[in-house]
């Protein structure tokens, strides 16, 4: 029972991180109808931004704690938001009216560029992300250890998702975003500036990825330039599982993938850790391609 609880907590914290990344995928897919392969690498850049900033910020607050952690996370989010907008402007905007395959290949190129550019700049070996929070355990029983970190991760992710929901459903900007994702042309006829909305979507998506990176690094502090690949792919799978383009779907899918991965690793075999998500992807695409919460879209001729 206690092992089950342990796995559940680990799965939930991993899953809420996936959910945050998946939200970025789903939002960008919503407005641009393409998968931003480089999203996982923006996540990686977020981890490195935090890695280089934290040693300067933590002493400023006189030690690890909530405030420095929050500062690092917010600054990281700002940095990644800027990077996200630059990526969109440089690589994706010139291709907006081109065939989808062209954009897809560019996105893959961008992803590889960030990964191996990162290897050049940061060095290929793993680095230790500094602890932002003093480590403590909320529950410390014989066979059940619940650290503050995993609880903080789950709560922060939850708060961020609620804020996102507020932005998307209660503000003018959010309404414009939903309009653009519904129909580009009609939205632009209604006086919505498509470019601004797309940039804004990249700001939010990349910001969430950066927050996810900060959370991820507090739980798994070893970071390297290729660390974004797997979480990126799994978060994408989470977005597909939930129904791509659907915000609730991304959140649910992320948590589900995190839980399934943790339980399979814990109870079946750790070697399946990276394969299980792809297995889920294939099953979902074969049996319910629209995802759990997505709606079926007929192809227009």
């Amino acid at each position: 029972m206690s092992e089950f609880l342990q796995q559940l907590i680990n799965g939930l914290s991993l899953g809420s991180i996936y959910a945050l990344i998946a939200l970025g995928y789903t939002m960008i897919y919503g407005v641009l109808r393409f998968i931003n392969f480089a999203h996982g690498d923006v996540f990686m850049l977020g981890a490195f931004a935090g890695f280089y900033m934290a040693p300067h910020i933590i002493p400023f607050f006189g030690g690890a704690g909530i405030l420095p952690a929050l500062t690092v996370m917010l600054l990281t989010m700002v940095i990644c938001a800027i990077i996200g907008v630059i990526i969109e402007k440089l690589a994706y905007r010139p291709l907006r009216s081109r065939p989808k395959l062209t954009v897809l290949i560019t996105a893959i190129g961008m992803s590889l560029f960030l990964e191996f550019g990162g290897q050049l700049v940061f060095g290929p070996d793993p680095k230790l992300y500094p602890a932002l929070l003093p480590s403590a355990n909320i529950v410390n029983a014989k066979d059940l250890v619940i650290g503050t970190n995993s609880v903080v991760v789950i709560l922060t992710a939850l708060v961020l998702m609620l804020i996102l929901r507020l932005i998307v459903f209660k503000t003018r900007l959010g309404t414009a975003m939903r309009a653009v994702s519904y129909d580009h042309r009609a939205a632009s006829l209604m006086g919505i500036n498509i470019d601004t909305i797309i940039s804004f979507t990249f700001i939010i998506g990349s910001g969430l990825a950066a927050a996810a990176a900060t959370l991820y690094a507090t739980v798994y502090p070893s970071i390297n330039p290729l660390m974004g690949i797997m979480p990126g792919l799994k978060a994408f799978i989470a977005a597909v599982l939930g129904g791509i383009g659907n915000l609730y779907g991304a959140a649910v899918g992320g948590v589900l993938i995190g839980l399934i991965e943790t339980f399979v690793t814990g109870y079946v075999s750790p070697i399946l850790r990276d394969a299980i998500a792809f297995g889920i992807l294939i099953l979902i695409l074969l049996f319910k391609p629209s995802g759990l919460l997505g709606k079926f879209e007929a192809e227009k001729v």
Binding site: P94, L101, T106, I108, L112, I271, F278, L285
Partner: protein
């Protein structure tokens, strides 16, 4: 007549490959290794071109097919105890290569079937995932050496085997593209719905492309395994798949000669630029982005003359093409 000529080309090319193979001992071993890698990469890139370029199915799992071919053929030759330098081993080696190709093409079929329901991005991720699953499964199979790898494979691949396969593949592809089949491929790639409307079923062509592409990737894997004599699952990760994709994209999707040139270029380039080897992947990535933005048809691909089509009124501005 034309068909006849291409048969002559095939015969001459295979003969030449055999002839050169007799003298391959004279070549500097380092250069010879590069020459072999060029041939193997041509097979990989051209077979992926069949899937990506001609059928328009963006696959990121080619290294997976390659690894299946490599492991299958290595398993066959090592259980038959074939040894290098023994000419009597050649028919059995051929059998092993075909076996590797066949098993890979079965997997190609398995990937091809879901690909019927998937488009663009989804297919890319699914094939990438399948490649990863194949890698993880091989890693966990003890009789294949697991993560330690499979060593002691007989070094049977030589110039003849590699370049005869290259010639055969080019022969098959160039003949097919001129045929009704090839036109079907292009029709499905350009507009699947329109192709189906005139009775060209997309299903069949996509599956043929996947099966054939996977078969040759498997053969390439077999040739590779019997050249390097040691394989392990990490040699066939998705970076390998990306490399093959870069060759196809740089050469021009759907261009036979362009992809061959790109495979040659991108195999030699990293060797020639050893001193800046750490920049290799960054350069590949930039190549992808720059080519997509400025020359999406690839360095050597045929250009679709959009402006001309516009002027003639064949398409209107804002059309989705």
């Amino acid at each position: 007549m034309k068909r006849h000529r291409s048969k002559i080309f095939l015969g001459v090319a295979v003969g030449m490959a055999g002839l050169i193979a007799l003298f391959e001992g004279q070549i500097n071993p380092y250069y010879f290794q590069i020459i072999m890698y060029i041939g193997i990469n041509i097979i990989l890139a051209s077979s992926l071109n069949l899937i990506n370029g001609f059928a328009g199915q963006f696959s990121l799992g080619h290294a997976g097919f390659m690894s299946i071919g490599a492991y299958t053929s290595a398993l066959i030759t090592s259980s038959l105890k074939l040894s290098a330098g023994d000419a009597s081993a050649y028919p059995l080696f051929l059998l092993a290569l075909l076996g590797g190709g066949l098993v890979a093409s079965v997997f190609g079929l398995l990937v091809g079937i879901p690909s019927l329901r998937l488009k663009g991005d989804y297919l890319a991720i699914t094939t990438l995932g399948l490649g990863e699953i194949i890698r993880v499964v091989i890693q966990s199979l003890d009789f294949l050496g697991g993560a330690r790898g499979f060593s002691g494979i007989a070094k049977i691949s030589n110039f003849f085997w590699v370049y005869a396969t290259v010639a055969l593949l080019i022969y098959l592809i160039s003949n097919m593209i001129g045929s009704t089949y090839g036109k079907g491929f292009l029709a499905v790639k350009d507009d699947e719905v329109a192709a189906e409307a005139i009775g060209i079923g997309g299903t069949r062509y996509k599956i043929i492309a996947f099966v054939m592409g996977a078969f040759f990737a498997g053969v390439a894997g077999g040739l590779y395994a019997h050249f390097v004599t040691y394989i392990n699952p990490s040699q066939f990760g998705f970076l390998r798949s990306f490399e093959i994709v870069v060759m196809v994209v740089v050469g021009g999707m759907g261009s036979i000669i362009g992809v061959i040139l790109a495979a040659v270029l991108l195999t030699i380039l990293p060797e020639a630029l050893r001193t800046i080897a750490q920049y290799r992947m960054v350069i590949y990535a930039l190549l992808l982005i720059i080519i997509m933005i400025s020359r999406p048809q690839g360095l050597f691909g045929a250009r679709v003359k959009w402006k001309k089509l516009l002027r003639r009124g064949k398409i209107a501005p804002g059309d989705r093409v």
